[in-house]
């Protein structure tokens, strides 16, 4: 158990935009998460290495809180979802390609400012820079 706690402190911080005032804050990415992603494929590693910091620093929107009561574990102050459209995506072998059409990239940051998940999702059909169903899904648009 002590080893696990120790490993969770290992990791790197990257800069992110603060939705409150546009200043810069630091977001932590754990070493465990980086290693898990790095083992998957070069495409996954590049998404983490190149796209995640870009979305955190130049998001098209930041959302705060989830609407659904059942998600109370995520409905805590400080939980954020950063959204953006990267300039490129990656094939499974890691080679660069155009971004996936009609999709946005989301990075989820918990209340401790830890980015714990990131992924492509379908975009809003009326605004390609926002995720589908964002109005029903999130409590508040913070940026």
């Amino acid at each position: 158990m002590a080893d696990k706690k120790e490993s969770r402190r290992d990791g790197l911080k990257v800069e992110a935009v603060n939705p409150v005032d546009g200043s810069t804050v630091e977001v932590f990415i754990s070493s465990d998460r980086m290693q898990a992603v790095g083992r998957r494929s070069m495409a996954h590693a590049k998404e983490c290495g190149f796209i995640v910091p870009m979305i955190l620093q130049k998001p098209t929107a930041i959302f705060e809180g989830l609407r659904r009561d059942e998600d109370e574990d995520r409905d805590v102050a400080g939980w954020l979802c950063y959204c953006g459209v990267p300039p490129h995506a990656y094939h499974a072998d890691g080679t660069q390609r155009d971004p996936f059409p009609n999709q946005v990239y989301l990075v989820f940051v918990n209340e401790n400012k830890v980015a714990y998940n990131w992924r492509w999702e379908e975009a809003d059909p009326n605004d390609a820079k926002l995720p589908q169903n964002h109005e029903q899904r999130f409590k508040k648009r913070a940026l």
Partner: protein, 141 residues
Amino acid sequence: MNAVSNGEFAKRMMLLARSADTTFKPTATYDPDGDCVEFLAKPDTFYAERIDDLVTVYYSQETGEVIGSLIKSVSKFCREVLTKMPGFRIEIHDGPVSLQHIFLARLWSANSEPDDMATLTYRKLVEVSRETTVEGRLCFA
């Protein structure tokens, strides 16, 4: 600890990827920062779609097939399942657990119709997780 530059972060990530075993193995990883289990059966890049409050499904960007999932609020879900269905403790212990049992638990505890999209997606996840035989580690703290 100060934030690293984007270049340094990308470099560290590439080093991790290059030093990793190149043979992909299906994985299920519990992440305490998100209290979630992420399951991935193939190395394809994916897009995600929430099917309900518990599970987000991962679809291959290349083929469109189901290749994984993110199970959220895992601790809370397991506590609820064990309250509703105490017998499930036989399948869900405090430790490694076959992912198909988590999906089955959700299927059995939900009041969804057999032919609705969420049910069909859960059945697909049961199938994919059974094929890969990966296990997730659950936390009941």
